[in-house]
Amino acid sequence: MSVDLATVKRVARLARIAVSQEEAEKMQGELNTILGFVEQLDEVDVSGVEPMTSVVSMEMKKREDVVNDGNKAADIVANAPLTEDNFFMVPKVVE
C-alpha cells in the first residue's frame, strides 16, 4: 500500500502538524519506504492468533477508589505557556 500526496496532507492534518508542500513531498517518499518495509508482515499467517496484550498474564491492578492526590493546581499549570488564575489559556474557540 502506498500513500499519495493528498493522504500525506490528510494524515498531517489528523496529527496536527503543519506541513509545507515541500515537506509533504519529502514525507511521502519516506512514509512509503517505511510502509513498504512493514508490508513484509503480509507473509505471516495470523489466523487464530490473539493479539498480545501483556508480557505476563496478570490481572490489571486497581487502586482503591479514594482521593489520594490533588490540591496542586498551581503545580499543574506551572509549565503552561499562558495561564490565568490557575486556568490554562487558549485562543478563543467559541464565537
Binding site: 496529527a15 517505511i34 495470523v46 496484550t53 509549565n79
Partner: protein, 493 residues
C-alpha cells in the same frame, strides 16, 4: 589522590565506606571531568553543579550519622527522559521547551532514596526515537571511542547515547537509560559499556516521558556487569502508580554474579545469522559460544522463526503508540507554543516547530496506521505477530534453554551524519535488528562488551532471558566480561 572517576560503583562504594574519600570529593571529580569534556562530547544537556554538590554534602552527612544507603554518595547521570523535579526534563525535544516538572519519576526517586547524587541530565534522541543520538534538539553526542588512527567523530548509538557516552568517558559513575527497541543495549554495545533492559514491568514507567507504552522500559548503563546489577537493584520497584508494574518479590542481582554457569543451557538462534552479516560479528558470536562451552555451559541450537518480522511489526506498534502519547504536546499545558489564527492552527504550528523530522515521521506513520479503516490491517496485525514472536521465545525456553546468546548490533559505531543512514530511515532502523525482538516479547536483555572490530571499536554480545530472570543474565554476562576483559576508550577530548 588517584583519579576518582576511574573507580567503578562497587569500588567507590567500598572506599567511601572505608572513609578514604567523601561523596563531595567524588562528585567534584566528576563535575570537573564533565566541565572538561562536555564541549567535545555533548553528553550532558544540563549539568546540575549546585544540586550535585548539595546532594553530595547531604550524603556525606547521612554517612557520618551511620545512615548510608545502597548507592550512598554515588554520582549519577540521568537521561533527559526521566522527570526530575524542578530540573530540565525535555526528552531532548524543542516542544518541551523550558519544561521543569513538579514531580520526580519513580526510578530516579528510588536512586535518591538510596543515597545517589544527580550530576545532570543526559542527551538522547528526541523522545527516544533514534539509534544514533542525532535526532536530539541539542545536537549529536560524540562517541568517546574513535577508530584506530582516525579522528573522525562517531555516534554513540541511541537513543540513550548521552548515557552510554557519559559512562564510557567516565563523566558519571553510572547512568539511567530507557529501551523501547534497543535504546539501552545498542548504545552500550557501541561504547564498550554494559546495559540491561529488564523485563517489561520490572521498573516503574511513572514519571518517564512516554514513547511507546507497551515497549518502554528503564534500565541502567554501567561500566561493568556488577555495577549494572547494583543500579538495577535500586531502580526496580513495585509501584502502584504504574498499572504495568509487576508485583514480584525483590530479586538479588549482585548475588548472581560469579555463580558458575556449569550445566546452564545457552540457546543459539539460527535466525540471527543474517544475510550479509559482517564476518567479525559472526566471529565475535562464535567467540562467545566458545567461552560458554569452556565455562561448562551447554550450547543448544534453537529456532526463533518469526525473528525477521519483529522489526516491521515494531515500526507499526511503536509509531502508533507514539502518535497517541505525543498528542499531549499541544502548546497548552507545557513547553512551546507557536500562535496561529485559531486554536487548530496554534496546535499545528506548535507541533511543526516543536518536533524534529524523525519524530514527525513516526507520528505520521502512527497516525496513518491507526486511521479509520487501517487499524486491523496494521496495529492489530502487528500485535498478533507480537504474540508469535513471544511464542517463539516461550518454545525455546520450554526446551530447557536458560538464556539466548546473540550479537548486540550488526556493526560497530558509525560516523556522525552517515550518508546512507540519513538517506533511508529504514537503514537506520536496522541497527535494532537484534535488540527489538526482546522489546516485542517484553523479555529482559543485556548487552556486554565482548571484543573489538578491525578498527579497534568495541562490539557487544546480547543475552536474552526468561521473564523476570534478570539474575540469570547477570550470572551469564559475567562469563563474557571475565573472558573479554574491560574496554576503555583512549582519552582524546
Amino acid at each position: 589522590m588517584t583519579d576518582l572517576t576511574k573507580l567503578t560503583i562497587a569500588e567507590a562504594r567500598e572506599k567511601m565506606a572505608a572513609k578514604e574519600f567523601t561523596s563531595a570529593e567524588l562528585t567534584d571529580a566528576y563535575l570537573t571531568a564533565i566541565d572538561g569534556a562536555n564541549g567535545a562530547l555533548n553528553a550532558y544537556v544540563t549539568v546540575t553543579h549546585d544540586k550535585a554538590r548539595a546532594m553530595a554534602k547531604a550524603s556525606d552527612e547521612r554517612r557520618a550519622r551511620g545512615d548510608a544507603g545502597a548507592l550512598e554518595g554515588i554520582p549519577m547521570g540521568i537521561k533527559d527522559l526521566f522527570g526530575t523535579r524542578d530540573v530540565h526534563t525535555q526528552a531532548c525535544s524543542h516542544v518541551l521547551d523550558g519544561f521543569k516538572p513538579k514531580y520526580e519519576s519513580t526510578v530516579t526517586q528510588n536512586l535518591w532514596n538510596d543515597g545517589a547524587v544527580m550530576l545532570g541530565k543526559l542527551n538522547m534522541d528526541e523522545f527516544a526515537m533514534g539509534s544514533s543520538n542525532e535526532t536530539s534538539y541539542y545536537g549529536p553526542v560524540v562517541n568517546p571511542w574513535r577508530a584506530k588512527g582516525s579522528n573522525k567523530d562517531l555516534v554513540p548509538g541511541g537513543s540513550s547515547g548521552g548515557s552510554a557516552a557519559a559512562v564510557a568517558a567516565r563523566l558519571c559513575a553510572g547512568a539511567t537509560a530507557t529501551d523501547t527497541g534497543g535504546s539501552i543495549r545498542q548504545p552500550a554495545a557501541l561504547t564498550g559499556t554494559v546495559g540491561i533492559k529488564p523485563t517489561y514491568g520490572r521498573c516503574s514507567r511513572w514519571g518517564i516521558v512516554a514513547f511507546a507504552s507497551s515497549l518502554d522500559q528503564a534500565g541502567p548503563i554501567a561500566r561493568d556487569v556488577r555495577d549494572a546489577a547494583i543500579l538495577l537493584q535500586s531502580m526496580a520497584s513495585v509501584d502502584d502508580k504504574d498499572t504495568t508494574s509487576v508485583p514480584l518479590p525483590e530479586a538479588h542481582y549482585e548475588a548472581a554474579i560469579g555463580k558458575s554457569v556449569k550445566g546452564m543451557k545457552i540457546g543459539i538462534p539460527a535466525e540471527y545469522r543474517m544475510d550479509g552479516m559482517p564476518e567479525e560479528i559472526e566471529a565475535l558470536w562464535q567467540q562467545g559460544i566458545d567461552w560458554y562451552r569452556a565455562a561448562g555451559a551447554e550450547i543448544v541450537d534453537i529456532s526463533l522463526p518469526h525473528t525477521k518480522y519483529a522489526l516491521p511489526a515494531y515500526y507499526i506498534v511503536a509509531p502508533a503508540e507514539a502518535s497517541s502519547n505525543l498528542a499531549r504536546y499541544d502548546g497548552v499545558r507545557y513547553g512551546l507554543r507557536v500562535d496561529g489564527r485559531d486554536i487548530v492552527e496554534m496546535y499545528e504550528n506548535t507541533r511543526a516547530a516543536g518536533f524534529g523530522a524523525e519524530v514527525k515521521r513516526r507520528v505520521m506513520i502512527g497516525t496513518y496506521v491507526l486511521s479509520a479503516g487501517y487499524y486491523d490491517a496494521y496495529y492489530l496485525k502487528a500485535q498478533k505477530v507480537r504474540t508469535l514472536i513471544k511464542k517463539d521465545f516461550e518454545d525455546a525456553f520450554a526446551q530447557g534453554v536458560d538464556a539466548i546468546l546473540t550479537p548486540a548490533t550488526p556493526s560497530a559505531a558509525f560516523g556522525i551524519a552517515d550518508q546512507e543512514m540519513n538517506a533511508d530511515p529504514v537503514k537506520m532502523y536496522l541497527n535494532d535488528i537484534f535488540t527489538v525482538t526482546v522489546n516485542m516479547a517484553g523479555l529482559p536483555g543485556i548487552a556486554v562488551p565482548a571484543g573489538t572490530d578491525h578498527q579497534g571499536l568495541p562490539l557487544g554480545l546480547q543475552l536474552i532471558g526468561k521473564p523476570f530472570e534478570e539474575e540469570t543474565l547477570f550470572q551469564a554476562a559475567h562469563v563474557i566480561e571475565d573472558a573479554a576483559g574491560r574496554f576503555e576508550p583512549e582519552k582524546w577530548w
